[in-house]
């Protein structure tokens, strides 16, 4: 009877996202024990998830702590408790096998509840969704509908007052926790250094935001999803602060990683320091997800901090992902943007050259075509591109022109989501709703590219 070779077993195991399945797999035989070992112990996550429930915490639901296809160990932890948890984890010899470290501890950020009130205030001015109203309203003058809308608005207006006691109590707890976090910052630094000293196999760090549901913590609140509150104010996300903390610990232990992914990245909080330079040195893969992209605007000065950090990754970088626009709605903000604000030399924005760069992924941006092309054409080994929700703001330099200018090294590219180009008016605003939609299958075969549709994505390969 046929059995499968090891290289296929590894791939089969990668499709087993449940810890229980991997545990069963490890006991099949020696070969399977070795293959399933890696995904079981190579990932460690310090997460704030389930901190929005009071202990005892419910057992984790597969797929909630880790995205599909990822298994490993998630330890629920508050930022301030990191020293205790690190000691506990170091008591287990398996940490030395950790290759991927995901960091999103529960972190009580300042002004959270003020931002919550801002969110309530903003909601008061949002249009009322009439979908849920009684469709049998047959009042001739629509007075029933108007009254229903008014009731919703009144409910919104009185919500801060109704929830005031809970908000004040929550604020008091937050104030206490924030003070505790500040007091323990040095202890957290020291704990992370201890952890990284042992993590000899560490290759990848992923920093995420602590996302929680405030209405679970405080059932009297109508709704309080943290991601909506965090989005109320620029720079409120703590992930860039986490990035610097981890950079300091890596620097202190002289530990280097190959892969860095940061969610809710806020560039203006990042510093050019020996620690952040150390973090970027040797990186092969970088992914930055961000909501605010003003530092990339055409009219902005070069963003020197990131320029210097990207220079540290210049000899080694193989893949670069710049994803903007957030999860909702994924459409780009207004105005033309340029990658050369973070990926170029002075004084004329000569693109940085990454000799090993093979893959570039861009999402949720309005980009000016010439600087984008200059950057792509400067990369000697660029093979593949992936873009989603990208609009090109340069008049008369839309997608066909961009594609025509791709360097000869590009073997294939993939697009998904809405795409646009060619502003309706040359002098009009650079915004997605002032541009023409571009359908990828409009690209003629004379372009030299053959398109293939799969689900919501279109792949292109060169016509040989």
């Amino acid at each position: 009877m046929d059995s499968l070779p090891p290289e296929l077993l590894v791939r089969i195991v990668s499709f087993l996202p449940s810890t229980a399945d991997l545990i069963s797999t490890r006991l099949v035989n020696r070969r399977y024990a070795a293959i399933a070992f890696r995904p079981l112990f190579e990932l460690l996550r310090f997460s704030g998830q389930r901190q929005d429930h009071h202990p005892p915490w419910p057992p984790p639901t597969p797929g909630r702590e880790l995205s599909e296809g990822q298994v490993g160990r998630t330890r629920t932890v508050e930022f301030v408790k990191l020293p205790e948890v690190v000691d506990e984890v170091l008591g287990l010899s398996l940490v030395q096998f950790t290759k991927t470290f995901i960091f999103d501890p529960a972190y009580y950020r300042e002004r959270f509840w003020q931002d919550y009130l801002t969110q309530l205030e903003n909601e008061m001015h949002e249009p009322v969704d009439e979908v849920g109203f009684n469709p049998d309203d047959d009042s001739e003058d629509g007075s029933e509908l108007e009254a229903a809308i008014e009731r919703v608005l009144e409910h919104r207006r009185t919500r801060p007052e109704r929830e005031a006691d809970i908000i004040n109590a929550a604020q008091a707890i937050w104030t206490e926790k924030i003070a505790e976090q500040k007091e323990n910052e040095e202890a957290v630094d020291a704990a992370l250094e201890k952890l990284f000293r042992v993590m000899a196999a560490l290759e990848k760090i992923e920093i995420k935001s602590w996302v929680f549901d405030g209405s679970v913590l405080y059932p009297g609140l109508e709704a309080c999803p943290s991601y909506l509150i965090d989005a109320q104010r620029r720079g409120s996300f703590p992930t860039t602060f986490f990035l610097e903390i981890l950079a300091r610990a890596l620097y202190a232990t002289d530990r280097k990683i190959k892969d860095l992914r940061v969610s809710e990245f806020f560039a203006e909080r990042l510093h050019d320091s020996p620690a952040t330079r150390h973090l970027f040195t040797g990186l092969q893969h970088i992914r930055l997800d961000m909501l605010h992209v003003e530092f990339l605007a055409d009219e902005a000065p070069r963003f020197q901090v990131l320029v210097e950090l990207f220079k540290c990754a210049q000899p080694t970088l193989q893949s670069l992902s710049i994803m903007a626009g957030g999860k909702w709605p994924g459409l780009p903000s207004r105005g033309g943007h340029s990658l050369l604000k973070i990926l170029s030399h002075e004084p004329d924005e000569t693109p940085l050259v990454f000799p090993e760069l093979e893959f570039v992924q861009l999402g949720g941006l309005i980009l000016s075509t010439p600087p984008l092309l200059r950057f792509l054409r400067a990369q000697p080994r660029l093979k593949r591109l992936e873009v989603s929700h990208i609009y090109l703001s340069t008049f008369d330099a839309g997608w066909p022109r961009l594609v025509e200018g791709f360097p000869a090294s590009v073997e294939g590219w993939k697009v998904s989501g809405p795409l646009g180009h060619e502003p309706v008016f040359a002098e009009g605003p650079a915004a997605y709703n002032w541009m023409m939609t571009w359908k990828p299958w409009q690209l003629p075969p004379t372009s030299g590219w053959k398109a293939m549709q799969r689900k919501a994505e279109t792949y292109f390969e060169r016509i040989s």
């Binding site: 046929d2 499968l4 791939r11 006991l27 093979e358 293939m452 799969r454």
Partner: protein
């Protein structure tokens, strides 16, 4: 040779299978072989596929015929995390559902690996993984045709390590 011309493949058990050239080109191994061979000398001769049984080769060619218009897409690309496959297209779901026999499924998986058909390989791996989900160790061994070669001491050590991997707070 035109893409719609027919070629004959000969499996390990000497079973001959007819296929369009276009479908055969889904198999990188055979496509390369055809490119390097002298067409005049090989025209009309069956192409030997001696690593694959007739039963498996027949199913592989059935899949290739359906997908012959598709572009061959690399499912694993350097420097990029593989996209997580969560389901198969309808036709492919039915294709694998009709296989029924798990040994034939493993043969198809091995054949697509040998013949270098990235998408069929990815799909068959996915289907095997789906079949393993929720199975006990003994059931996995039976499905994969594997003997246990672990000593009791090795098993004990694995159980101890696994205790740490069990979901905890």
């Amino acid at each position: 040779m035109a893409d719609n011309s027919m070629v004959t493949l000969m499996a390990a058990d000497h079973i001959e299978i007819q296929a369009t050239l276009q479908a055969v080109k889904q198999c990188a191994t055979l496509g390369t072989m055809l490119e390097v061979l002298d067409e005049q000398q090989t025209l009309g001769l069956p192409i030997p596929v001696l690593e694959v049984s007739g039963e498996a080769l027949k199913k592989v060619i059935e899949w290739c015929e359906y997908h012959r218009e598709d572009m061959v897409v690399e499912t694993e690309q350097p420097g990029v995390a593989a996209q997580i496959l969560t389901s198969l297209p309808q036709w492919d779901t039915e294709f694998f559902a009709n296989i029924g026999d798990k040994d034939l499924l493993i043969k198809i998986c091995n054949a697509s690996n040998f013949l270098e058909i990235p998408l069929l390989l990815q799909y068959s791996i996915f289907v095997i993984a789906q079949a393993l989900r929720g199975k006990s160790t003994e059931e996995m061994r039976a499905f994969l045709n594997i003997e246990n070669d672990l000593t009791p001491e090795e098993e004990q050590k694995i159980r101890e390590d696994n205790a740490w991997a069990m979901p905890q707070n």
